[in-house]
């Protein structure tokens, strides 16, 4: 029970990171982006490549950070991957989403993202092969926190949780303390009014993709650390991340954080009452519950 709760919190930390970017994009560009989960895969695989490169070029970096299975090389790779994924998200917007948007077909955006998800997912499969990959082949031993009830925690998991919380705090500070944060929220509130007041819409949209892509990359690497890398990981992540944004209320960053943890905990707690095979359905059940009880989510507001 406590073990499930703990695992849920850890699952929640990477779901939250993914959901923040998704909720921002959905709020500002007003479409359900089905390709967001593919940014997680992209980030995870970009980090895999970069990790291998750094390890090959500077072997010293292959040493591990304390008790973690994370090496210096992978830590560096995460930073590079954030940049790569953020820029890829911007390019994706330029190539596809902006063009569809400018043709004035808001509804087609959803469908374009559907198609892009399919393309990205299968290109990753073609490039990296369909078999699972790992960042480290060493077995990460869990630390026994308590024997009765048995509670196990891996050092990596603690790192993932702490790093996720630090990133969320940083984003919170940016959104509430900087001019950029204000303009971002202004665009989300009312794009036309924000533009009249001198906010550069294009640049703001670009920033949203950069932030969303960067956080997605971290989320993808963290998913890879706790599970394994497979090209279809986006397929398994898309619904939990969407569920997190709906639970939190579309457009609310804090809602996405809370929603991510709620979905993560619910999916792991469900293991107590449901066979493991049903786990993929849990996010959908959560969506149903939220739509019945509180259609606009915990922090969302009604908007046409």
């Amino acid at each position: 029970m406590i073990q499930n709760l703990l695992d849920g919190v850890l699952t929640g930390s990477y779901l939250s990171l993914g959901a923040i970017g998704l909720t921002l994009v959905m709020h500002i560009l007003r479409f359900a982006n089905f390709s967001h989960a593919e940014l997680l895969s992209l980030g995870a695989y970009a980090a895999l490549v970069c990790d291998a490169l750094v390890t090959a070029l500077v072997p010293v970096f292959a040493t591990k950070l304390g008790p973690l299975s994370l090496t210096w090389a992978l830590a560096l790779a995460i930073v590079v991957s954030m940049a790569v994924t953020g820029v890829s998200a911007v390019i994706l917007d330029r190539l596809v989403f902006r063009r569809v948007r400018e043709k004035g077909q808001e509804l087609s955006m959803v469908f374009a993202s559907f198609g892009m998800a399919l393309v990205i997912r299968n290109l990753i499969g073609l490039v990296f092969g369909l078999s699972p990959q790992l960042y480290s082949k060493d077995i990460a031993f869990a630390v026994v926190l308590s024997r009765d009830p048995l509670i196990l925690v891996k050092p990596d998991q603690v790192f993932v949780l702490v790093a996720a919380l630090v990133l969320m705090l940083a984003l919170h500070l940016v959104l509430t303390r900087t001019t950029f944060g204000f303009s971002l929220r202004a665009v989300a509130e009312n794009p036309t009014l924000a533009a009249v007041n001198g906010v550069n819409l294009r640049r703001t949209v670009m920033a949203v993709w950069l932030i969303g892509g960067g956080l997605a990359a971290v989320a993808g690497v963290f998913y890879g650390l706790s599970h394994q890398l497979i090209p279809v990981m986006g397929r398994d992540l898309v619904l939990p991340i969407f569920a997190a944004t709906i639970v939190g209320g579309i457009g609310s960053v804090y809602g996405a954080v809370l929603g991510g943890f709620i979905v993560g905990i619910a999916a792991n707690m469900a293991l107590i009452v449901l066979p493991a095979g049903y786990t993929p359905s849990v996010p959908f059940l959560l969506i149903l519950v939220v739509l019945i009880l509180r259609p606009h989510g915990l922090f969302g507001e009604a908007r046409a």
């Binding site: 959803v110 393309v119 073609l126 049903y278 969506i287 739509l291 259609p295 606009h296």
Partner: protein
């Protein structure tokens, strides 16, 4: 020669069944602007519903109601409709993202439930014990398949005519009015939420019919038949054919299904053996690119929606009647 003809009949039957599904989706997306991200759930509800209601008793799972075939098929359509009604009721009052996400979720959950709930529908092994109707009289051979194809074709024509009439009717005008400007429709005293729900359920019932026929054709259905892939394929058919145009929807179905079958055949024939594992990936990249490419360069599809001036006397449809 008979081999080629029998294959063509097989191909055309599958394509026609998919065309019925595309028509159902066209009512939702093309005419009403509702994004259904879980086409396969409603298709699957029809297939599972029909086979469970019409099948012989099975030890392992639910079934064995042995209903007369038409009743079983209608039962499958009702199952799809009820599923759509529940999802629609919860999401159609909200902004459009919610429907997209909820329908996508329903498809994931449906496949997941069918794969795991052995007592309900046989789990991963699928639904067994369904006898194709009139099999005793006609056997399993070419005659049966040809006759089945004729029935499917007749149903396709029926659905097409029904939708054409519907789109030309005041209700069809209302659908387009809501799609184009919800506020304006509301100001005229219409209830967009209720009309949307009607269109969504009606489209899903048609998807259910396609699913039921698909299940009947193979006399078997398993979770493998309700993967998200099918949702993508049916969507690609509609986008390529032309959203809002029923004739385009049917042609899109034949075109994409033809391209899909041909590319699969070509890859299995000409690609090196070690690359065979990646056939699916290549096909998905292709279909994804077709979808995105169409949206970028020809969003109206190959056969665009014909604009109808809905004023009595001037519309070409009402002239001469």
């Amino acid at each position: 020669m008979i081999g080629v003809i029998s294959y063509l009949v097989f191909f055309a039957t599958t394509a026609s069944i998919l065309a019925i599904a595309v028509l159902g989706l066209n009512l939702q997306w093309g005419n009403t602007g509702l994004f259904n991200g879980g086409v396969v759930a409603f298709f699957g509800a029809g297939a599972y519903g029909t086979l469970i209601l019409g099948g012989t008793p099975q030890a392992g799972h639910l079934g064995g109601f042995e209903l007369v075939y038409p009743l079983a098929l209608i039962g499958g359509m009702v199952a799809a409709g009820v599923l759509a009604w529940i999802v629609g009721l919860l999401t159609l009052r909200l902004r459009h993202d919610y429907l997209a996400i909820a329908t996508f979720g329903v498809a994931v959950a449906f496949e997941n439930l069918m794969r795991n709930a052995e007592g309900l529908a046989g789990g991963a092994k699928g639904v067994r014990g369904f006898e194709r109707p009139l099999r005793d009289a006609l056997g399993d051979g070419f005659t049966y398949n040809l006759l089945f194809f004729v029935v499917v074709l007749a149903l396709l024509a029926l659905v097409y005519l029904f939708l054409e009439r519907l789109v030309a009717s005041p209700f069809g005008r209302l659908l387009r009015a809501i799609r184009e400007d919800e506020e304006a429709a509301r100001s005229l005293g219409k209830s967009p939420a209720r009309v949307r729900l009607t269109a969504f359920v009606a489209g899903s019932v048609i998807l259910g019919l396609a699913g039921g026929l698909y299940g009947t054709f193979y006399a078997f259905v398993s979770p493998q038949d309700v993967l998200p892939t099918l949702t993508f394929q049916i969507w690609a058919m509609l986008i390529v054919g032309g959203a809002g145009n029923n004739r385009g929807a049917i042609l899109g179905a034949f075109l994409i299904w033809g391209a899909w079958t041909a590319s699969g055949w070509a890859l299995s024939r000409f690609a090196p053996v070690e690359a065979q594992l990646y056939t699916g990936s290549v096909q998905f990249v292709l279909i994804g690119s077709v979808i995105v490419g169409m949206l970028l360069w020809r969003p109206q599809g190959l056969f665009p929606e014909r604009l109808v001036v809905s004023q009595s006397g001037t519309s070409p449809r009402t002239q001469g009647r």
